[in-house]
Point group: D2
Chain length 437, copies 4
Amino acid sequence: MSYRFQKLYEEKVFKDPVHRYIHVRDQVIWDLIGTKEFQRLRRIKQLGTTYLTFHGAEHSRFTHSLGVYEIIRRMVDDVFSGRPEWNDDDRLLALCAGLLHDVGHGPFSHTFEKIFNLDHEELTREIIEGSTEINEILRKVGDDFPKKVSEVIEKTSVNKLVTSMISSQIDADRMDYLLRDAYYTGVSYGNFDMERILRIMRPRPDGVVIKQSGMHAVEHYLISRFQMYWQVYFHPVSRSAEAILQKILQRAKYLHETGYHFNYVPVHFGHLFEGKVDLDEYIKLDESVLLYYFQVWKEESDQILSDLCQRFLNRKLFQYVDFDTQKHTEKFAELKELFLEIEIDPEYYLVIDTISDEAYDYFRYGEEGGKKPILLLQTNGDLKEISRKSELVDGITGKKLFDSKLYFPHDLIYNNPDEKKKKVIEMIEEIAGAKRR
Amino acid sequence: MSYRFQKLYEEKVFKDPVHRYIHVRDQVIWDLIGTKEFQRLRRIKQLGTTYLTFHGAEHSRFTHSLGVYEIIRRMVDDVFSGRPEWNDDDRLLALCAGLLHDVGHGPFSHTFEKIFNLDHEELTREIIEGSTEINEILRKVGDDFPKKVSEVIEKTSVNKLVTSMISSQIDADRMDYLLRDAYYTGVSYGNFDMERILRIMRPRPDGVVIKQSGMHAVEHYLISRFQMYWQVYFHPVSRSAEAILQKILQRAKYLHETGYHFNYVPVHFGHLFEGKVDLDEYIKLDESVLLYYFQVWKEESDQILSDLCQRFLNRKLFQYVDFDTQKHTEKFAELKELFLEIEIDPEYYLVIDTISDEAYDYFRYGEEGGKKPILLLQTNGDLKEISRKSELVDGITGKKLFDSKLYFPHDLIYNNPDEKKKKVIEMIEEIAGAKRR
Amino acid sequence: MSYRFQKLYEEKVFKDPVHRYIHVRDQVIWDLIGTKEFQRLRRIKQLGTTYLTFHGAEHSRFTHSLGVYEIIRRMVDDVFSGRPEWNDDDRLLALCAGLLHDVGHGPFSHTFEKIFNLDHEELTREIIEGSTEINEILRKVGDDFPKKVSEVIEKTSVNKLVTSMISSQIDADRMDYLLRDAYYTGVSYGNFDMERILRIMRPRPDGVVIKQSGMHAVEHYLISRFQMYWQVYFHPVSRSAEAILQKILQRAKYLHETGYHFNYVPVHFGHLFEGKVDLDEYIKLDESVLLYYFQVWKEESDQILSDLCQRFLNRKLFQYVDFDTQKHTEKFAELKELFLEIEIDPEYYLVIDTISDEAYDYFRYGEEGGKKPILLLQTNGDLKEISRKSELVDGITGKKLFDSKLYFPHDLIYNNPDEKKKKVIEMIEEIAGAKRR
Amino acid sequence: MSYRFQKLYEEKVFKDPVHRYIHVRDQVIWDLIGTKEFQRLRRIKQLGTTYLTFHGAEHSRFTHSLGVYEIIRRMVDDVFSGRPEWNDDDRLLALCAGLLHDVGHGPFSHTFEKIFNLDHEELTREIIEGSTEINEILRKVGDDFPKKVSEVIEKTSVNKLVTSMISSQIDADRMDYLLRDAYYTGVSYGNFDMERILRIMRPRPDGVVIKQSGMHAVEHYLISRFQMYWQVYFHPVSRSAEAILQKILQRAKYLHETGYHFNYVPVHFGHLFEGKVDLDEYIKLDESVLLYYFQVWKEESDQILSDLCQRFLNRKLFQYVDFDTQKHTEKFAELKELFLEIEIDPEYYLVIDTISDEAYDYFRYGEEGGKKPILLLQTNGDLKEISRKSELVDGITGKKLFDSKLYFPHDLIYNNPDEKKKKVIEMIEEIAGAKRR
């Protein structure tokens, strides 16, 4: 039998706390899970630095990727299969794209990508199409199969339906991460009725639509998402840890560029410091390697690198105050000066972190450049955009998510402050106070 | 106010998926959590290699330690406080011992301890009494306070009541790990009614006893424990990963001893290879460091070390068959010979793993050397051992937990076997078949 | 010791699926639970006819009343106790008012009250202040204690703080019913983090306020409430059952008034048919008595009464279409005529049911007659209305809940319709179609 | 299309708190649910008097019956369908038998059956085969179909496989009631992993067997069952309520037989008082009718009937002490005499209730008359009885469930006792004391 349709002799079942069980019947999926590129996701946390705020959130991208696969599998096998709008030839494509959609993520990915100017979607494509174990398996399905999979993930595929299953405003990726992140952090916000949503999804050529009868379940999902953003993803303490992480990598890169002699040469960063990516090197980079370097850099003679590393490892994070990016430009400049006077380098110890509003306008409707809306399938076959039917969605459509904070090392400034430090404190209080409503 | 009684200005609350919230009011506890020795527990998994079987089980000893602390806190503040048998002076001792009971654990601790001949209880004592941040804080409570805490953890304390809260047959440690491991693996077995058990615990000079009215909740706890052992803790696949881990460390040690030239000198193992422990070095050793070494050793020229490391990282585990330690001694010797003939070193590729029965006879009663039984407090004040009152506990008392498996690299033997390998296969099948009932 | 402060020898614990345990320590509370007026609540369902839509929702007002008591108890004993703004003399008042707030409810209460022109709050007052077992117990606490309790329930008490604990926009009553109704129906919407909300409630002279840090938990609660209204409380199928119930009682009253000779004289309705309430009679009326009458009325010779009763008992409910109260006045008049022509009495078989918007504008803010807003306590002590701080609450503030449906007996009209019935069908389709968006 | 295979135009979905959703696709099932005989189960509680101990347990046999149907449906459609050992012609038979297995239950069934010498299995047969709405529907499937369904329920069917799905040691009936009763009472004991068990069930001609790999899930189920018996089903307080119930019915029957003139003639008991059953009358008898009679009998002049009814309605239950049926025969006779002396009729106020051991030896193995064991399917196809493989099951096999209690009206005896009553108290204490271990 062709490899594409090959089934395992016995179904493999993974116990999963979120979906109870994850079922694997296809040889291709089983083989993909066994690749070193996929197993590497076990060493990359799903939520980056969030575990320093919510200690339970230590789960990896590996578990999330299995979860996305399982949701896609249930969509296809339990709901879409047999419907005229669904072509079962797309089944394996959807499963593979779901499983592999995050395979290009690096350690603490958002920060890492930022400093080294990487793009995890681009890297995902390279891992799928490049010389890897994953590619070898996908090619056994068909010569153009790796490309097809990566196009779905990159949202350039002509197959809009399969694409929408993995990336749209209500897709397998988001549904898994909301449920999973809620489960591991322990917050109750992310808990919507996925089983219901799956049952009322219907395949259409342009993407998945939702039966009108399930509108309330979708409302619940959207509100969950909204609340998870504020409660978990944008939590100011996790952002403090991210700020430190970013400054560690920035310092290490700077030291490398300026010829600093490392005790432990960071060979694993390979060509990243030069702005180049080598796929083999990249795949070896995971969070245990990063944490190892933080351990050894903690012993380096460079005070800034050493201090930042011990802060991250021992969770001595920066403190924060609200910051108004428009009002406080001048004050920030002054504060930088004051930092220099007390001999704390503001480049590394004074960080503005701003949360953009993108996360939320995803269901704003009909605007130029707006994302594709969630469509409700009426009993007469019409499609209606959800905010026209739901008072609740209408109420939150267009609301902006925005938050800006100023991070600084409270301990270095507030402990037994001299006159100069007192001035710094005064300025910080002023910024904080001005923002207080 | 004395440091011992100092309260935080505002209670700190940690969101916890198992206990919902963990409450910290005491300055001492807050300070202990902030030490580098305690934060290090974030980088040591609670269940070692179990995440390679149950992918959700990626939680750390950090979360478990907070959980044990919280259970102790509830015992003391919600149940014992105000009862004549409870001395509130012991409150902080109990809280600290609960929080710190696992602080000496190393990376993948059981295997690690075995290879390097370590004892995590001894190391816990050293971390508490040695020159550490933890010790500094505890000493501020009282000069003899560190010693008191470590004595409780080592079960040598004269305070039997506090000791029993942390280590007995139904203690805060076990209650937390059963609930937590069940939560993170996703199995339903470990889910007993802890709230009920806490409410019916009563302090007595020799240890905590349980009111008769709560017997069924305790039964449930004991059965949960029994089932978790078979289902999770003794899972043959996790033991396969442990076998490989053990062989990696054994090989690295051997190579070090025989003067092998490592590309990446394993400096972080410090004096461990010489059988000595340096506390500072030990504290720096965590699972990210180990995983880092596995990454670099994967590239070493020593084939055995390299192969074992890639097996662990990419989850290419050993296969297993049931093994009868008594019947198969000879066959095992023959099998070793056959392995040599096919040039697979049996020292590293043929592993017998035997699960001892200790885990289970913990509530066997009255026997020489038997552990202290669980006592039920009757309405008339008498104490009765639980197996005398409970048919269910009586039914399982004395049952032996025992399992022995033979691990081997299936891929190296079964893929396109030549004549010699076929002989190996035959022998393995013989061993497997003989055990089949 | 005075009865007010008398404690049970041993705390009584009720297993509760929503709050896990309900704890009773006070003799007064224990005695109140044992009264016949309180035990009667076991025979009145919390959600009336909802069990005909959500089959799991068979829980009684008894369980809800215990739940409200328990929430009040936790507020007082775990959160308010010891705070300067809380007077522990009010403890028993709050507990009793919480426990007894629903004690005046009749069977299928809203419908029942409507037909017989009753007011359950008035009846609650009479049960508390009249000659009942409950009154006897409360008077043992103090002569004016019954009056104090009923004033809190009627919201005429000078004690605004205690009143707000039981009836405000975020009170023990609402928190219990949302959680409980979600649990028993099985929907996931009502599941907010009550434990968190309790912890951040603070007593103030004018009512309970909420710490700013818990805003997201309150958002979650408000959204839960919003969703439970649409999903459960306003479900059109339950309203169909309610319409039939109403028509049964209306018909029985009419028959009584017009001198119809009942086979089973409805003596238990006592003076209700004459518009008078006798407290003793009222207390004997519960849902088992009503259901008994429906059983015997099913055998009555009056066709309308008999048919409606079998519809209710055997769940042969009315069908419905959306109805526009403004547009369809004329059509409705015509439809009534058509009903008469096919010899179906529109007085009993054609029902418009309109859901008012009251349920939702409860957190509209600052308007004339608007209810008291939810106030957030800032770190500096200021109070801010929640919709000014929360984008989410702001988004739904002022949204109207409104729904109107037309109910009719589908079976009598659509099965083998003759020409006249076809006209009725046409008219119904017209009404339905006109509303379709 | 033949009625047997007719599908609903759209699947109907019931929200269920235990199984999340119950799915109905078959017209036959939908029609059966709509019959008056099935709807009647809404007015019969699943756990009889248990709600007087666990207030949450107010759920009806209606919800349980739907649950059993759903489990059978999942077995058939998700697990058995397509396997050679399963004949899909049996699908509808299994679904109908599952749905209808409890349809003959009377109000508070066990007590009711005992007093009136009824057999609910016999009554179930009559309802299925007699002149009922249910029978009418089943006959449309086939003339012999009603008989086939009732034979499965009565365990006289030649179809052993389908029979075992509904009644065996691990069947849909037990699985639903354990999960459901645990959910509604709120106890945690009954919570096993049904999804897992379903997945590993395999059809065999003689009944369902279980794959060896799922042994631990079955262990968990058996232990759950064991604990639910002790914790819920045999709870002494529920048995007190049952004792009163029994005595009410016994007294009413006695009064009827001795020509007592009832104020409200209990016509609804019809011929039951004469030991005859009329199916039409029986179907009208439900718990609301019984509770109605208790309300009116409370007002009867017969003191015993009146007192017992108010006890049941107002939950003034009997107290109890342990009773040794062998040791205390004489004491019991004496106690009866003493009761007569204090003018309390021991026939109604002194009740011995003994719990037999049947519930538990269900998995005793191989003994004469022993029930069919649970069989585990080995990988080589062999079947092994579970207690031979499981230490846990072996440990509890053969354990006896046995409990005997003496019930009496504490209030009538202990409140201000005179000399004679003191003697009664003495005797009760003696019996109680003798049993104390």
